[in-house]
């Protein structure tokens, strides 16, 4: 397997099915066993099943490291931003507050900032990270630019993000559709409706309303 330098995290939210395999697998990684460094959230479950997995973006100029008063956060030669070094970390939370992506987590029990280190124990020896290994939808993919170009012809990798006046470039790439941005699906508009407008609602649920008395 090629070593880490040519391989990147690619995150494609359009593929994510919210299964949490990444979150569960992250806890199996030897460098932070028992703790997951991935967050997976519904954007707004009331209106959509859309979820997004958040792994460290591994910034080229990591804000977490820049704000660390103890110089505890190191970036490897290949560009992997690691968890705080235990002897140095003073658990001040600066990094947690400063990260534009909300990645570092304060482990209060260990008094240590921990974060996604791209499964350094695995990727540094040519293995895939746990999350991207298991991801059933491959919303999380770890590989080369050539592989992603071949596998995802309809997607464009993005790795520059704008926060106010600041542009942050990252090692991790987000995949966005080249075109055909999927429309928001709506159950009601795809349903058979004999009438339109306000009448729909009454018609659909007429029986439900009529039967309310029988609940008493």
């Amino acid at each position: 397997m090629p070593a880490t330098p040519n391989r990147y995290f690619y995150v494609d939210p359009s593929r994510c099915i919210g299964c949490n395999a990444c979150v569960q697998a992250c806890t199996e990684c030897d460098t932070h066993k028992g703790y997951s460094m991935i967050q997976l959230d519904y954007i707004d479950r009331a209106v959509s099943t859309q979820t997004v997995p958040v792994v460290c973006m591994h910034c080229d100029s990591p804000t977490c490291a820049e704000v660390c008063p103890a110089h505890a956060i190191k970036r490897t030669g290949e560009g992997v931003v690691q968890s705080a070094r235990k002897p140095r970390c003073i658990a001040c939370n600066n990094c947690v507050l400063a990260c534009p992506f909300g990645i570092p987590k304060m482990n209060t029990r260990m008094e240590l900032m921990m974060k996604c280190d791209q499964c350094y124990d695995r990727t540094s020896i040519g293995k895939l990270p746990m999350c991207a290994s298991v991801c059933p939808s491959q919303a999380l993919f770890f590989g080369t630019e050539e592989e992603i170009a071949h596998l995802r012809p309809n997607s464009t990798p993005i790795n520059a993000f704008q926060f106010g006046a600041q542009t942050i470039t990252t090692r991790t790439r987000m995949l966005v559709p080249k075109d055909n941005v999927p429309e928001q699906l709506d159950v009601l508009s795809a349903m058979y409706q004999p009438t339109i407008g306000n009448v729909i609602e009454q018609d659909l649920l007429l029986d439900a309303m009529n039967s309310e008395e029988s609940y008493a």
Partner: protein, 742 residues
């Protein structure tokens, strides 16, 4: 006895479900395993390859198995955390007998004593009431060797016709439909045919949550330009970004398929030469769909006409396509008709039996395919043979060295076995790998029926919810404690490898079955020393049948990463894709690619009938049920794995905001859902990703949390699958939360 010996809480105190989490060796970084075992996941029908890490006879974790071609290392959260089912505090380490004086309702007894007790009770009941007064129920999570042994045990040792399995709740509609149309019951294609197809049609399959790894195949097809059509009452996670979503009313699938076929014929989007050359029965089927105009289809299915027209055009004009369905269309009192409707659409398109063109039902259980092939079904003998066919009986009897006349005739389906128990016709039961008190519909009836049993013995590794009613509980084996084969959703026979030994007094299930046969003094045919020996007999017993495993060997499976059956000889590498033109099969003998004597597939008139229980003013809403990603079936395993329970701790009532608003329900409010059979009080999940006339509840939980208290036991007349996917209910806001989870 089979009543609940003590209050559920007292039983739970000892037998769980308790939650396991990673501790000790499983949490320490850098522990070097004693060995790494290549095997498969214990849960769903995809049977993902996985490597288990073993230390001191304990599975301490996993490593992705990148080389296994189906999943290439991918796993869902159940696969990731499955190792936590071993070394579990609830693991049955002894045999138990019911004991009202014990604080937990059961007392451990020596294994041999338990076996003798089971044999004595079988003997007593059969002597008094005849062989058919005793029944067995088994399951499709067992290896194929065990399912073969269970079928043989019922027919040769118990001599009862009454044996069936939990695939009755799973694969039987698809199986019956496939046999009617193709003459064989297996997914027609390997999943690789999904990748470069133009249209993927998914009906009644929550792929993202129930067959998660298949998601990547669908997404990769989309990446290669495919259009994705999803038919479902809910916008499932995979439906969210599909090209066309058709929000169908539960239980109306065949109406949609007929409507699409109507439009295919009207617009001449059919493959005349394929229909002429490779099928029969088209004209009758075409006449049957003549009435299914888009307007009628829309009215019956509840789908907007424009969606139906668009779907027909996408499907009709495609050059390649892959249609998949699952329990969403099959769990119906006309499940077989639904399946036939889907197959008619495929046959009319001519897009089957070649590269990138396919059709498949997505198998549910670990061995949902293999478990329906070798004789644990009530009407089946090994090799998918028919127990009422004299030639089939004679062949299998010769392998088993018994008189064909001594083989029982066909029995009845699993639910009918429960009804026979209720009527007192069946008085004793042995069950394995089946938890009917959670998994069968109208389960308050199931409980009342089980309470009438004179004797009930359950084999399991945990005290599942039904085993709590048992007189004797025998400690069986976890998947990782034994070896054997299973057949995956693709029809690929793979090998489960043993990772650890059974703990305590627990035994491999096949040993337990044989021990009972010996204690009954009916040892004939139950003298196997290993799963391999059982498999060798199965190869012979299946030879010449539809599901011919004669050419499958453990070594070939390991060498090829699985063998697609049929596999007829040592030289045969297996059959990846069924129905390729010019291929030979033992039924058609060269006359054509399908498994009928003339080699032609059959169109079958697929008739629409409404669900058994239509909505009315008393029960104005439709209930549908299904799974969530972090749990599996009746939850016997997954409700005991901490991280999976954290992910989804309890069931919920999924309801559209329009309906919730009418009832004054807000997100998280308690609500009571009632049917004519039962009620359940759960929290409301208010989401606009479901039809407003439909309620969804996941079914993995027991007792007061079980949605199967509400579901209806109406069954398909052909497959006898229950109608889990639709019944009539009413919903109201609940004042107070229910108490007790059991």
């Amino acid at each position: 006895m089979a009543t609940l010996v003590l209050q559920p809480d007292s039983i739970s105190e000892k037998f769980g479900p308790h939650l396991s989490t990673s501790t000790g060796m499983r949490l320490d970084p850098g522990v070097v395993p004693d060995r790494v075992v290549e095997t498969h996941c214990c849960f769903c029908g995809q049977q993902c390859g996985i490597q288990l890490l073993v230390k001191h006879n304990q599975v301490i974790g996993y490593e992705p198995w990148y080389a296994f071609p189906f999943n290439k290392g991918k796993l869902c959260p159940k696969g990731v955390k499955r190792y936590l089912q071993g070394a579990h505090p609830d693991r049955l380490l002894h045999a138990y007998k019911r004991d009202a004086t014990s604080p937990h309702g059961f007392s451990p007894i020596p294994y041999e004593e338990a076996i003798q007790k089971v044999a004595d009770e079988i003997g007593r009941i059969q002597n008094a009431h005849g062989p058919s007064a005793f029944a067995s129920l088994s399951g499709a999570s067992l290896t194929t060797e065990k399912t073969y042994l269970m079928g043989k045990f019922a027919r040769v040792c118990l001599k009862t016709p009454y044996t069936d399995y939990n695939g009755r709740l799973c694969m039987v509609s698809a199986g019956a439909g496939n046999k009617k149309a193709f003459g064989i019951d297996r997914a027609a294609n390997p999943w690789n045919d999904i990748l470069r197809t133009e249209v993927v049609w998914i009906s009644g399959a929550n792929i993202a949550e129930c067959a998660p790894i298949t998601t990547d195949y669908v997404w990769q097809a989309r990446e290669n330009g495919a259009k994705i059509i999803v038919v479902d009452p809910r916008i499932t996670p995979l439906a969210r970004t599909c090209d066309l979503f058709l929000p169908i009313k539960p239980g109306r699938d065949v109406a949609l398929f007929n409507g699409i076929l109507h439009l295919m014929i009207k617009n001449d989007w059919i493959d005349h030469s394929f229909i002429e050359k490779y099928t029969q029965g088209f004209d009758k089927t075409a006449a049957n769909v003549a009435d299914w105009t888009p307007e009628l289809t829309a009215r019956v299915t509840g789908i907007a006409e424009k969606g139906i027209l668009k779907a027909a055009e996408l499907w009709g004009r495609a050059r390649t396509s892959f249609l998949m369905h699952a329990r969403g269309i099959e769990h119906s009192s006309h499940g077989v008709q639904n399946v036939l409707g889907a197959i008619n659409m495929v046959l009319a398109s001519g897009r089957i039996g070649r590269e990138n063109c396919g059709y498949a039902t997505i198998t549910g259980q670990a061995n949902g395919q293999g478990g329906r092939e070798h004789g644990q079904k009530c009407d089946q003998l090994p090799g998918m043979r028919d127990i009422s066919n004299p030639e089939h009986r004679a062949y299998v009897a010769s392998v088993w060295q018994v008189d064909p006349a001594d083989l029982p005739q066909a029995g009845v389906d699993a639910y009918e076995i429960i009804r026979k128990i209720d009527r007192g016709e069946i008085r004793g039961l042995l069950s394995i790998s089946f938890n009917p008190i959670v998994s069968l519909p109208d389960n308050n009836f199931v409980r009342r029926a089980l309470e009438k049993l004179e004797f009930y013995a359950a084999i399991d590794f945990f005290l599942n919810d039904t085993a709590r009613f048992a007189d004797i509980v025998l400690p069986g084996s976890l998947q990782e404690e034994d070896e054997g084969v299973v057949a995956t959703a693709e029809g690929r026979v793979v090998k489960i490898n043993k990772a650890i030994d059974c703990p305590g007094e627990a035994r491999e299930d096949w040993r337990i079955i044989q021990d009972i046969a010996h204690a009954l003094k009916r040892p004939h045919g139950f003298n196997f020393h290993s799963p391999r020996e059982i498999f060798e007999e199965l190869r012979i017993a299946s030879k010449g049948g539809l599901a011919d495993y004669f050419g499958v060997t453990y070594e070939k499976i390991e060498r090829q990463h699985g063998v697609f059956w049929p596999c007829l000889s040592e030289e045969d590498t297996g059959t990846h894709r069924l129905f390729e033109p010019g291929t030979w099969n033992p039924i058609a003998k060269g006359n054509g690619p399908f498994y009928f004597p003339d080699g032609k597939a059959r169109f079958n008139v697929a008739t629409y009938t409404p669900p058994a229980e239509e909505v009315d003013t008393d029960y104005p809403l439709m209930l549908t049920t299904g799974r969530v990603i972090s749990h599996f079936l009746s939850g016997t395993q997954t409700r005991r794995i901490g991280p999976l329970v954290d992910q989804c701790p309890e069931p919920y009532i999924e309801v559209h905001p329009m309906l919730a608003g009418k009832l004054g329900l807000k997100q998280g409010d308690w609500a009571t859902l009632e049917s004519r059979r039962g009620a359940v009080t759960l929290k409301a999940q208010v989401v606009n990703t479901i039809r407003p006339d439909t309620i969804f509840i996941p079914y993995h939980w027991a007792g007061k949390q079980s949605v199967n208290q509400l579901t209806i036991s109406a069954q398909d007349p052909i497959s006898h699958i229950p109608e889990y996917k639709v019944c009539a209910v009413r919903l109201r806001k609940a004042d107070a939360p229910h108490s007790g989870a059991t």
